[in-house]
């Protein structure tokens, strides 16, 4: 009898890339459900269009690069990228905005650098940053969150807004987000106590938004429980962001928002558990992860507080992506016997 030849090890754990990506998608569900509750058709259309464009671009690039289509299209990595972008873009985003974002994410940030595993920059964040810089008006037009939004903005109105744009009276529905409001008014030297009453603020951050952030946190904790993400990344990111916020809040609580506000506003939780934790572009050593994520936290605070953008996860992540090889090189763990 002739037996097959292999090299050791001869057994392997029953997991694969697509399984990990699917777990990330499951963890995104609670936050996504809340977003759909608050933004209705606007969030559904974002998700649908983003996934369609992402898989379309992915297929096209795989074809152009002569890569096997099936294993890569079914690894769900493009879906994760699309999903992250879809929940970060304003609800009811016009189709072309989503297309441009996905083009930058999938084609430029991912495949031009060599595809899955080879991209130095987080694809979703490159896509987000590209449209944020190019189309600031569309990117800040978040409609106000409403309970069961489906009953407020109908399907037809949504389709019209997404595909044709310029729906009459649309501007009345949209407005600056809480993070934006706080920032603009602080620049006008108003005290926080005067700003909060102007907007629907909740217990932790902006109303509705705080619950979305809690939902991301819940999903993130589940990911940690499933051992998909390392604890160092979210802990260091949220820790350094909270530390920065607390230091300035203690110095001048009238003009600097508290740590709670920073942690539960904007993309803090989404960033902490789903963006900073992207394994391909994050640091890979235990100490490196701490350094990498802590600096993102600092950068997010700096840009939020003194920069010209209300939120800063995308820029901070991209900046720190550049430093990853250096961080990895100098943070090797101590090897046995050395």
């Amino acid at each position: 009898m002739i037996f097959t030849q292999r090299t050791s090890p001869h057994i392997s754990a029953s997991t694969d890339v697509s399984h990990i990506m699917r777990q990330v998608l499951y963890a995104l569900l609670p936050g996504t459900v809340l977003l759909v509750w608050y933004f209705g058709w606007g969030m559904l259309s974002n998700l649908l269009l983003a996934v369609l464009f992402a898989e379309g671009f992915e297929w096209g690039m795989l074809k152009l690069r002569n890569r096997p289509i099936r294993p890569f299209l079914s690894d769900y990595s493009a879906v994760v990228t699309a999903w992250l972008l879809a929940v970060a873009l304003p609800a009811f985003a016009p189709w072309w905005l989503i297309a441009v974002a996905m083009l930058f994410a999938i084609v430029i940030a991912k495949h031009l650098y060599g595809g899955l595993g080879y991209n130095p920059f987080n694809p979703a964040m490159v896509g987000y940053a590209a449209v944020l810089v190019s189309y600031p008006v569309q990117m800040t037009g978040w409609p106000a969150p409403q309970d069961f939004s489906f009953s407020h903005i109908g399907l037809m109105q949504a389709v019209q807004q997404v595909f044709l744009g310029g729906t009459t009276g649309w501007d009345a529905l949209t407005g600056a987000t809480v993070l934006d409001t706080v920032k603009v008014n602080l620049h006008l030297h108003k005290a926080l106590a005067d700003i909060y009453p102007t907007k629907p603020f909740g217990l932790l951050g902006g109303k509705a938004w705080e619950w979305v952030n809690v939902a991301w946190l819940v999903g993130g904790l589940w990911l940690f429980y499933q051992r998909v993400i390392a604890w160092q990344l979210p802990v260091a990111f949220l820790g350094s962001l909270a530390l920065m916020a607390t230091v300035f809040w203690v110095i001048d609580s009238a003009h600097y928002a508290s740590a709670l506000f920073h942690l539960f506003s904007g993309a803090a939780m989404l960033g902490a558990f789903f963006i900073v934790t992207d394994p391909v572009t994050a640091s890979t050593t235990p100490r490196g992860k701490l350094i990498y994520a802590a600096f993102i936290g600092v950068l997010v605070y700096v840009i939020r507080t003194w920069g010209s953008y209300p939120d800063a996860v995308a820029f901070s992540v991209i900046i720190m992506n550049m430093v990853v090889p250096l961080v990895d090189y100098y943070t090797q763990p101590r090897v046995y016997g050395t």
């Binding site: 050791s8 001869h10 392997s12 899955l116 046995y336 050395t338």
Partner: protein
């Protein structure tokens, strides 16, 4: 009482695996009936082959040495039973390369006759000099039976003081149970072997590390240790975690100390031997038996009746499989060793050697997973017991940046396979490390060779230069000499001339006298 670890020295990484150990431990170990032919490879240990000392057609007794060592890293192989040497030829052996090696083919006569081949028993080893015992262990062909097959006698020659003797009974690889069964069935022999080693090395203590998934082995060893009444021997239950049975990891778990990178346990005052080696030492010293047989686990989903067998060395794997009820129709690959570090065998023609602890027949995996790119998820680094960064090693090995792989401590990789096991992208990581190690070794050898050639060339140039110089010096000296000789000639000529003049004067005077004028 079995000592649990008072302080748990945690190793980084490691894996909890499906152990599949129960399948092969249901029945006691069976003695294998003699096969019709034994194939005994000359090389069954780490080191060089010893030279042959039998010829085709010779009749050999059981236990008779078939090779004669003439170096330190050589140990002999012996006839596992009495019979006739029918051939000495190249035969398939268990080696990752799949190449053949020189083997002695022995046809047993069925008498199992020791003749006078049995060595003198040392009934009280404590009365013997350590050097005598070392000689005996070497002559008996004993090597590390855990799989490394390093000559045991060398590790028992303590050049540095040894404080701790470690006995490895961890047996951390899934499926393998031969050491488990040995500890259950022959604990007294193991303890007696340990006592011989304690006598030779004189350490302060001996720690016997056994994973806690072997309660019966732990209990049996504890009873035997108590019976021996040796307070130096401690039976320690260690947590079940692959690869605890790796020498470096076991030392860390038991003592908290680490073997220095590139060093040996002796550097930190420790020596590690396998439980089966201890038993072989006992048999060699007290009974005078060379290493002729060993326990082998025959198991796996592809085997009808998994079991443990006491196998004469040289028996073919095929014969073992038949004794275990044969292969099932779904059998796909045949392994020697465990599923994490074992090597595949092409056929059952391969003989059981000193290193063979397990014959494992696996069925084909349900679906061959495609290899995907590395997504740097870091699961490999989490599972690495040496605390390496497998993802970085892979990256650089793939790019052939071998200097960088060394920066990431490639040579501290023990090839345990944890990283490849957990990899969600199904990258054969260990293959990349083996490749990089081999490339670096080749490069080093080439470099050393080039260095040697360059040195020789430079030496030659120097020699030629020196010869030239010496020649020139000689010539110059010669010339000088010649010049000196030339000056002497002139002097001589002057003297000659002066003499001639004087003669002439004399002659003139003589002539004057003859003409009549008296001069005196």
């Amino acid at each position: 009482m079995i000592t649990s670890l008072l302080k748990r020295w945690l190793n980084p990484g490691g894996l909890h695996l499906d152990y599949h150990k129960e399948e092969s431990t249901q029945q006691p170990v069976r003695n294998l009936p003699l096969p019709a032919e034994l194939v005994i490879p000359l090389q069954q240990h780490m080191g060089q082959k010893a030279s042959l000392c039998v010829r085709v057609g010779d009749y050999v007794h059981k236990g008779q040495a078939l090779t004669k060592p003439d170096g330190q890293m050589q140990v002999p192989v012996h006839a596992s039973t009495s019979g006739t040497v029918t051939a000495i030829e190249e035969h398939p052996v268990a080696h990752p390369s799949g190449l053949n090696d020189l083997c002695i083919i022995l046809t047993p006569d069925g008498k199992d006759d020791w003749g006078d081949a049995r060595m003198t028993p040392y009934l009280d080893p404590a009365q013997e000099k350590p050097e005598t015992l070392r000689q005996r262990i070497s002559t008996a062909g004993i090597v590390g039976l855990g799989g490394a097959v390093f000559p045991a006698a060398i590790k028992l020659a303590a050049h540095t003081p040894i404080t701790t003797l470690i006995i490895n009974g961890a047996e951390c690889e899934p499926y393998i149970t031969c050491d488990d069964m040995l500890m259950r069935e022959k604990p007294d022999e193991i303890i007696a072997g340990i006592q011989i080693m304690l006598h030779m090395l004189a350490p302060q203590q001996c720690l016997v590390g056994i994973e806690d998934n072997k309660p019966q082995a732990l209990a049996a060893m504890q009873t035997a240790a108590e019976k021996a009444g040796d307070r130096r021997i401690q039976i320690v239950s260690v947590p079940t975690l692959y690869p605890t049975g790796s020498e470096k990891q076991l030392i860390k778990i038991l003592t908290g100390k680490e073997v220095p990178s590139g060093g040996r346990p002796a550097d930190i005052g420790m020596v590690c031997h396998n439980a089966a080696t201890a038993r072989a030492i006992y048999r060699a010293v007290v009974l005078g038996e060379p290493l002729l047989e060993r326990y082998v686990t025959v198991t796996g989903e592809g085997v009808a009746h998994p079991c443990n067998l006491n196998v004469p060395l040289g028996t073919s794997v095929e014969y073992l499989l038949n004794q275990a009820g044969g292969c099932t129709p779904t059998a796909d690959h045949l392994l020697m060793g465990g599923p994490m570090m074992g090597i595949t065998l092409q056929s059952g023609q391969v003989p059981v050697v000193k290193a063979t602890n397990c014959i494992l027949v696996k069925t084909a995996p349900e679906q061959q997973q495609p290899v995907m790119p590395c997504i740097r998820c870091g699961r490999c680094a989490e599972s690495c017991p040496a605390n390496l960064l497998p993802q970085q090693l892979y990256w650089h090995a793939r790019a052939r940046e071998f200097d960088k792989t060394e920066h990431y401590h490639l040579f501290d990789c023990i090839e345990c396979g944890c990283c490849a096991y957990v990899c969600p992208s199904h990258i054969p990581l260990v293959d990349y490390y083996r490749f990089a190690k081999a490339e670096i070794r080749t490069q080093r050898a080439t470099h050393a060779q080039a260095e040697h050639a360059r040195n020789r060339h430079e030496f030659r140039l120097q020699r030629l230069e020196r010869a030239k110089q010496e020649k020139a010096e000689k010539l110059a000296k010669h010339r000088e000499q010649a010049a000196k000789t030339g000056a002497d000639d002139a002097k001589k000529a002057a003297i000659q001339a002066a003499l001639a003049r004087a003669k002439a004067k004399k002659a003139q005077a003589a002539a004057a006298t003859t003409t009549g004028e008296p001069t005196e």
